[in-house]
């Protein structure tokens, strides 16, 4: 038995078999090849090599005409890697000797090579490993294309183990519906995958540094999403203990269900609005069941995922109308898509270059303002979907007043256009900004004239305030929502907005943290918007707290110098 400590990313306990996911969306499973099929397996590998070679020739021809001879030489070294005896001889040897499938044998060889590269201190040489893995990935994808193994096709319930999962992977996980839990080498409590896991109610532990190398597919694993632990090859005793805990959690769940339909009101009668975050229009069924008070954040990025063209107005209209209809008279806050440059490139938008630091880069409203057609299409779809006049529009990644006025001018244009087309607009949707960049918090007073509401995206606000990349394992422990700087910024936002009578919501991960909820409510936040699976849990936190008490404690917290002291104060109060 081996216990690995990581970051608890999504509550719950999963007990099951591990399923390793290698990079690039491709699942590499170890399969046993019977002796009579070894020859065919080696041929399959050689075919993939040949296919990769001809792919490279095509690329080389393109590179030569577009970039010139010097760059084409890089492709030549890729060719040499393809004919490297490590690949041409060692892989077939491994297939023959151990009866391994080609993908697995190749990835074993590449892993060995990577370990050699990892030993190199010299950064210049060290970085050359990417050349090797580029080629390796190409061969693997040629092998796998004929096999079609993907996350979508998981047949048995499994626990996914991965180095890193991408948003597109998480969509496949949703589709497969066979994932009991997952563990990742990278990630923090607020990375995309963690948010996804929370919204799906899938237990997850992330930030485990090298778990994907320590587990083999098929190993027995327990994911403890409460304490952030992964137990590999647990004893029968441990399994029994966790099964018991699973039952307890299940009972708790039943208890929370009794809160359905009850208001989010503190013990001393302070009422807040509790809403849900939505990641796709597929959750509409559950939405009605949750009996929430509306959608505080509808992330529209899903419309742009796993495809190679921008979603049309009609597609978007359909998605928004579905959700608006399901909500009836309850508010629906749609955030215009917060996609980055890499995604835009995949959607066929030309002229974008790779960014060194995408978090600080071209995303959210910045990208939509540079590509106004994207913004316009989304606004048109939203206006058309707003038949019930319940929709609000939220702008992500705002850092200046100009961005807000540009969006509003565009909205005016859209409105004129639509009425010229004979489309009747009953009511203008409300506009709001996401406060994620500290600049937006600091100049909020200047933005309030243009907007009707404010929503604090705490995940990004924490990351930008503390200058901590939340998926960088070296600094992720510095990511601290209870940092006094963060609380003071939230306080500033609430105070500024309330002076003008405008409501403030919090839609980041803090909004469902049982320790953060009383502080946020104490600071005067009007709306909390949480993942659907956390909805009743969050309501419970609101209903057991005393507003007057926490309003006073929150004021005290604003004067404390460290996050440790703030956490301790809240923990002692909630004990």
């Amino acid at each position: 038995m081996l216990i690995k400590k990581g970051i608890a990313a999504s509550l719950g306990i999963a007990i099951g078999r591990a399923h390793i996911v290698k990079e690039e969306n491709i699942l590499i499973e170890q399969k046993e090849i019977p002796p009579e099929k070894i020859k065919a397996e080696i041929k399959r590998f050689r075919d993939a090599l040949d296919k990769t070679k001809s792919d490279l020739d095509l690329i080389r021809a393109k590179v030569l005409t577009v970039l010139g001879k010097q760059h084409a030489k890089l492709i030549d070294s890729h060719h040499l890697i393809l004919s490297d005896p490590l690949i041409t001889k060692e892989v077939p040897k491994l297939i023959a000797e151990k009866g391994l499938n080609a993908e697995f044998a190749l990835s074993e060889i590449l892993d060995r090579a990577e370990q050699e590269f990892e030993k190199i201190d010299d950064e210049f040489f060290h970085e050359r490993k990417h050349d090797v893995f580029d080629v390796g990935k190409k061969i693997i994808s040629n092998l796998v294309n004929s096999e079609k193994v993907s996350l979508k096709d998981i047949k048995e319930p499994v626990i996914i183990i991965a180095h890193n999962l991408y948003p597109s992977d998480t969509l496949h996980i949703r589709e497969s519906n066979k994932v009991l839990g997952f563990c990742m080498d990278l990630g923090s409590k607020s990375s995309h995958t963690a948010i996804f896991a929370q919204s799906m109610g899938i237990p997850a532990v992330v930030g485990l540094s090298d778990i994907s190398r320590q587990i083999q597919s098929g190993d027995s694993v327990i994911v403890d999403g409460e304490q952030g632990m992964v137990i590999i090859a647990p004893t029968a005793e441990i399994i029994a203990k966790y099964k018991l805990r699973q039952e307890e959690l299940h009972k708790q769940e039943i208890f929370f269900h009794r809160l359905k339909g009850l208001p989010a009101i503190t013990r001393d009668g302070h009422r807040i609005n509790l809403m849900v975050n939505l990641d796709s229009s597929a959750d509409v069924q559950e939405l009605a069941a949750a009996r929430s008070e509306g959608v505080g954040l509808f992330r529209t990025e899903f419309l742009y995922m796993n495809r190679d063209a921008v979603p049309t107005e009609d597609e978007q209209l359909k998605a928004y109308s579905n959700v608006a209809r399901a909500l009836g008279s309850l508010p629906l806050t749609i955030r215009t898509a917060d996609i980055g440059g890499d995604r835009a490139t995949q959607l066929g938008i030309k002229g974008l270059k790779d960014e060194r630091n995408p978090f600080m880069g071209f995303r959210g409203i910045r990208l939509f303002i540079k590509y106004p057609e994207l913004l316009k299409t989304q606004l048109r779809a939203i206006y058309k979907a707003n038949a019930g006049a319940t929709i609000k529009i939220m702008i992500p990644m705002v850092s200046s007043l100009n961005e807000v006025t540009t969006v509003k001018e565009m909205a005016q244009e859209v409105k004129t256009e639509l009425s010229e087309e004979g489309f009747e607009i009953k009511k203008d949707p409300e506009f709001g900004v996401m406060v994620e960049i500290p600049a937006a918090a600091i100049i909020l007073d200047s933005l309030l004239g243009e907007i009707d509401f404010v929503s604090i995206g705490t995940n990004d606000l924490v990351q930008y305030t503390l200058a901590v990349d939340r998926i960088n394992q070296y600094v992720s422990e510095l990511y601290e929502p209870f940092h006094p700087a963060v609380l003071r910024l939230i306080n500033l936002v609430v105070q500024t907005a309330h002076k003008k009578g405008k409501p403030v919501s919090v839609c980041g991960e803090m909004a469902s943290d049982p320790y953060a909820i009383p502080l946020l409510v104490g600071l005067g936040v009007d709306i909390l918007s949480v993942p659907m699976k956390m909805y009743l849990r969050a309501k419970f936190s609101v209903r057991i707290m005393n507003f007057e008490r926490f309003a006073a404690l929150a004021q005290q917290a604003l004067g404390l110098p460290t996050s440790e002291q703030i956490r301790k104060m809240v923990e002692e109060e909630l004990k």
Partner: protein
């Protein structure tokens, strides 16, 4: 078997392209060719192996050739080192 110590004199050391040239040249010969640096031994015909040596400027590599055409192979490798792998 013949054995020789060769010094890396080109500015960038044996990065991807020189490693490729070494592997490419070595592959033309039937004999076994090994490169040794600081007790690390790799097959000279393997570009990945050669790259992992991380041989920078002024490092010294031991080349070991053994087989029927070992002399010709050693000469060809020596020539590559001396020509600074066509750099500059």
């Amino acid at each position: 078997m013949i054995k020789k110590d060769l010094r890396v004199i080109n500015e960038l050391g044996i990065h991807a392209r020189p490693a490729g040239m070494l592997a490419n040249t070595a592959s033309k010969f039937a004999c076994e060719l090994k490169l040794i640096k600081d007790k690390m031994e790799v097959n000279c015909k393997s570009i990945m192996g050669v790259m992992t040596l991380a041989a920078g400027k002024d490092s010294t590599l031991t080349v070991v050739a053994s087989g029927s055409d070992e002399a010709a192979a050693m000469a060809a490798i020596e020539e590559l080192f001396a020509s600074k792998f066509d750099e500059d």
